[in-house]
Symmetry: D2
Subunit: 265 residues, 4 copies
Amino acid sequence: MKIGKETVPRTAISTADAHSITVRGVDLCGDLIGKISFTDYFHLLVTGTRPSVKAAAIIDATLVAIAEHGLVPSVQASRMTLAAAPDALQGAVAAGILGCGSVILGASESAGRLFDDIAAYARDHGTDIDTAALAVVGEYRAARRAIPGYGHPLHKERDPRVNALFEVARHHAIDLCYVDIAEAVERVLPRVIGKELKLNVSAAIPAVLLGIGFPLAALKGVPILARTAGLIAHLTEELEHSIGFALSYQATRELVFDGTQLVRS
Amino acid sequence: MKIGKETVPRTAISTADAHSITVRGVDLCGDLIGKISFTDYFHLLVTGTRPSVKAAAIIDATLVAIAEHGLVPSVQASRMTLAAAPDALQGAVAAGILGCGSVILGASESAGRLFDDIAAYARDHGTDIDTAALAVVGEYRAARRAIPGYGHPLHKERDPRVNALFEVARHHAIDLCYVDIAEAVERVLPRVIGKELKLNVSAAIPAVLLGIGFPLAALKGVPILARTAGLIAHLTEELEHSIGFALSYQATRELVFDGTQLVRS
Amino acid sequence: MKIGKETVPRTAISTADAHSITVRGVDLCGDLIGKISFTDYFHLLVTGTRPSVKAAAIIDATLVAIAEHGLVPSVQASRMTLAAAPDALQGAVAAGILGCGSVILGASESAGRLFDDIAAYARDHGTDIDTAALAVVGEYRAARRAIPGYGHPLHKERDPRVNALFEVARHHAIDLCYVDIAEAVERVLPRVIGKELKLNVSAAIPAVLLGIGFPLAALKGVPILARTAGLIAHLTEELEHSIGFALSYQATRELVFDGTQLVRS
Amino acid sequence: MKIGKETVPRTAISTADAHSITVRGVDLCGDLIGKISFTDYFHLLVTGTRPSVKAAAIIDATLVAIAEHGLVPSVQASRMTLAAAPDALQGAVAAGILGCGSVILGASESAGRLFDDIAAYARDHGTDIDTAALAVVGEYRAARRAIPGYGHPLHKERDPRVNALFEVARHHAIDLCYVDIAEAVERVLPRVIGKELKLNVSAAIPAVLLGIGFPLAALKGVPILARTAGLIAHLTEELEHSIGFALSYQATRELVFDGTQLVRS
């Protein structure tokens, strides 16, 4: 079935023949394996160019920041899945990644779009960043859209990963424009929503990645790649010592059944 | 419901409080973000220790080797999934990872187990590696088990990634014992199965990773992590220029319907 | 970690003890197994009540209508996944379901919401249905939202499943209000978008399901459940005679590589 | 890339043109929609033929038996996934299905293969069923293979769904040969493994489905289809009243961290 107008697939990422594999114009076997780090290769794959030293440092920092935070819901889902289907590691990884949605890890991308909107507003209206932040956050609020990247269930004060990432950004002297925007949002939030919500890691990641020119469209991939590393660690532990069923047992110990009681026919 | 005997979950990977996150005994925000590469962090997460310089080089090389090989079936599945469900990047990544099974990317782990069996045989029986390889591969064959990691649909001679990885291993002077075993299997295969099948990347990866002491149980995670990076590149391209439906159109252009013709009632 | 305010899980669907399982207030083993069809049970599970005879007929008709339409992209993704990972049927089913997104099978739910918006507009503004349809479709268009459920790549005239479903609805004399709305949208579309787009199955499904009071929030589940049946048929065929790799081979026969040519370093 | 020998895909399930869709030789719009139940259609899709009345009754009974059993691990994983990614219902369904593996719902298929092995043994060796069961279960035990379908964490005596299913089988007078085999295994188990393990639903399902000639290769699909219905009910409830994060909170209330304590650098 022909869906849409295009019928000839095309790609710019890689090509291969019997003797070689070319990725983004570079010979994989001759010039990449053993000669490029995985982080730099991720940048090359996604953008088509090798990162600068400072850009690579920022990408490494964000991947390290978001890879692991204990038995969060998606890790629990992944470990329960492996306990039930131990032969299919890929299925358990997939189950964990499926929890990288709008509420939790997907907030990196939507926070990036928020910052981009604010930068555009300031540019288009010739305002300073706080004015732009107030206007755009106000629009989000009026449209009942969530403000992604602020507030954290455990880290009520600023998520400690935020300052760590911003420090890396300052150390490498990248463009701090989006860091400034992220902090402006934090400042204006109380005026818009009536309470303080501090920056969390999902706002800090786009703030520093946009500062190295990392594409907005690929932002969501960063927490997904990072979390895959964390999931593999958890699933390796799960294979050694399974807790998937212990988690599900605990989860329902205080379960309330509030449905219809048995009606004998 | 209590399934199994254990009811109290436990983990050794990480813990957190309001102000800090500790991963494998290290302060994430103070001592890891900005101070460790993602590759080293992956090793720390999975094994609990930081890798040596040479071990990190080997892990980088394997991740780079297996991350991308064009529009392979799992990448096609992933891009078709994004074309149909463009709002859920995580779903498309998950669909791509679900193809990392026994036939394709999962062969890294099963090849690792084969090499481990051969090493054990040589040790237990006091034989040389070729004798052990012949015995173990013969046993696999007798039990109709596939010999994972040999032969490639495109790279009929040795997969070019194999020599690239072995060169990295030699350059860093890691333990080459499993490289020797992998090559012994290649040598004995014609005697067991009656034809030559050359080493492919899924045999080379465990051959070098086992040489740095990377745990057998985590082997399958390496191609999954690597492929996630490749999938994110493809999905970023898919968002810019969708080919998912063009692929599905092409796939069925020569489709043969060999079912029952319409029976009008 | 405590996310959100609620900490005690509750459910109204089912409960069990060592000797019995109660689902929606009914004894599963005494009063359901062998005494209720799967379709009626699906309604009981989702809504808490058994369907009327006509409601059950409508649900059956929609599930049958959408379960199978050949090698559509999500079926291809599923079969490629099974070819690559034949030991994990559940992974291949999951990969197929992941393609039930906004563009393809998810349109049932969004079309249902469109019809609901039109019904609300007519009610609130005291207009006839065509006026309401014109207003709401115009708003969607102005907001650049897709109009879900109209147009089909193969069935350029009305998708034949539409009339079949509407005939079942008329035969069982259900509330046709949403069928009327669906046809009103078809009538007004040329005025809004400048071309004819005929009803497809994803508009007909909510049109008849809303007419039996099926909950809007569960609409998306109907094509997912239906498609699972189709996927299992395809995967059973795939296990007997694999075409997953043939599909991926065909898909790339005309592939254009439009990236950077090899740059020898 | 050409993987394997076949390059031309073929299917016998369905075909379509602009005006009609043919499934298993029947006109979908003229002769199936509104005229066949979803359960009968599932049988038609998978096997190519319509089921007899008694076969349809058995399939309905098995689907009803296994669709729902409360907040089992895969349902928890699914609800946690929806809580984290509420926009992608298909992702949460997929996460739930990924838990239908060898340990839990996949046991239906492996129990079916066990019964088939026992039937073959009795036929080939001319023994009665108990002798065959003892021999085959003994072989499984010697090979350290799990005996699928016996024992249940909650239903320590026979799972109540077993007798309900067997009653349906007797009521419809289907071939009870596999029911007899399933009970023979229950009888011989204490002699082989030293303790009683009663039949659970995953043994009863293949016992009755094989008795209507349902194909062994499609057995695993039955619990997957059934569970999809249960998952949709749970996810509809989750959208109304989310407990995904409450489950994950409860799951870790007694979590023990047994890793390395923080080492300040």
